[in-house]
Amino acid sequence: MSVQTTPALSPVRAGVAERAALTALVDEPEAPFSDAPVYSPQGTGVLLLLALLSPKTPKESRPS
């Protein structure tokens, strides 16, 4: 009767792809973009137009 035993599986060294995936996670850079508000010079005209079109302060009506 055979008394052979199965040796425990031992992983070999990681390959290039595994290594690259690991490095990407270890050397994770800061987020490349954000949704923070940024200065937009094109918006200046819109703001000016809105200011001009905004309702004026109500005047007191004179009693007739």
Partner: protein
């Protein structure tokens, strides 16, 4: 499997492991539960997650002054063999490996109050295999980055964010000292990250600021308030939540609370 799929697979494994480390850190179980997939020693994905976490695996052990569970030590050993440190790695990766190996070689966590960089022969009492691994990582970490003094606050913040796993109690070295020395640069970096809504980077920098504050430095930010802000807005990932939990524990230690 494509490279992108492999990267996503590893990232998911890291998230799962970070969640378990966070659970061990918040838990009250003594002795600490093992967090790694010790029942799957041949799983490269699980081993990669262990390598990415690196020194963060020791966080519960260091805060609770307990030894790292033996299954985690064995898994870390295997992970260092499957993904060995290489001299071509980035400065940040080399320092993380160096710290991981030093903590592993330290034996019972917290047993060496002088820290892993105290000189002497820190690996003398360990078995030869662990000593060899620790030495390999040590050699990789010896190359000092001479340009470090020339870094702008943005560059310094980005580097320190990648080195955030080194911000742990009872771990000392040049970067822990630099965190205290350049606390203003890190405060600026954290503010910039908050404004960019890059919450993971902000959490990593706030972790350094909490460490600096615990060692007597005065950050230019109200660290507890920033931690609250990030907890409410920016902790969708387990890794970020772990960074915040570690920062909070560091602050609690400063205020004399439980670690």
């Amino acid at each position: 499997m494509s490279n992108a799929a492999l990267g996503a697979d590893y990232a998911q494994a890291v998230e799962r492991l970070a969640g378990r480390v966070l659970g061990a850190l918040r838990g009250t179980q003594v002795p600490l539960p093992a967090v790694s997939d010790a029942d799957r020693p041949a799983d490269t994905t699980a081993l990669a997650a262990v390598r990415v976490m690196g020194p963060d695996l020791f966080a519960p052990a260091l805060f609770c002054r307990q030894p790292l569970p033996q299954p985690d030590r064995d898994t870390l050993d295997t992970a260092l063999r499957v993904f060995p440190p290489r001299p071509g790695d980035s400065v940040e990766a080399r320092w993380r490996d160096r710290t991981t190996a030093a903590l592993l070689a330290r034996g019972a966590a917290g047993a060496d109050p002088a820290g892993p960089y105290a000189g002497g022969e820190p690996y003398a009492d360990e078995d030869s295999e662990r000593a060899a691994l620790a030495e390999a990582a040590g050699i990789a970490g010896i190359v000092e980055d001479a340009e470090d003094t020339e870094l702008t606050w943005q560059e310094r913040s980005q580097r320190m964010a990648r080195l955030a796993p080194l911000a742990l109690p009872e771990v000392d070295g040049p970067y822990q000292q630099r965190a205290c020395l350049h606390v203003r640069a890190l405060s600026r970096g954290a503010t910039r990250s908050l404004m960019r809504r890059d919450h993971p980077t902000a959490a990593r920098l706030v972790r350094w600021l909490a460490l600096a504050q615990s060692r007597g430095a005065s950050p230019a930010l109200d660290v507890p308030t920033v931690l609250d802000h990030l907890r409410l807005w920016g902790a969708p990932s387990a890794r970020t939540a772990l960074d915040l939990a570690i920062a909070r524990r560091l602050l609690a230690a400063t205020e004399g609370g439980p670690r």
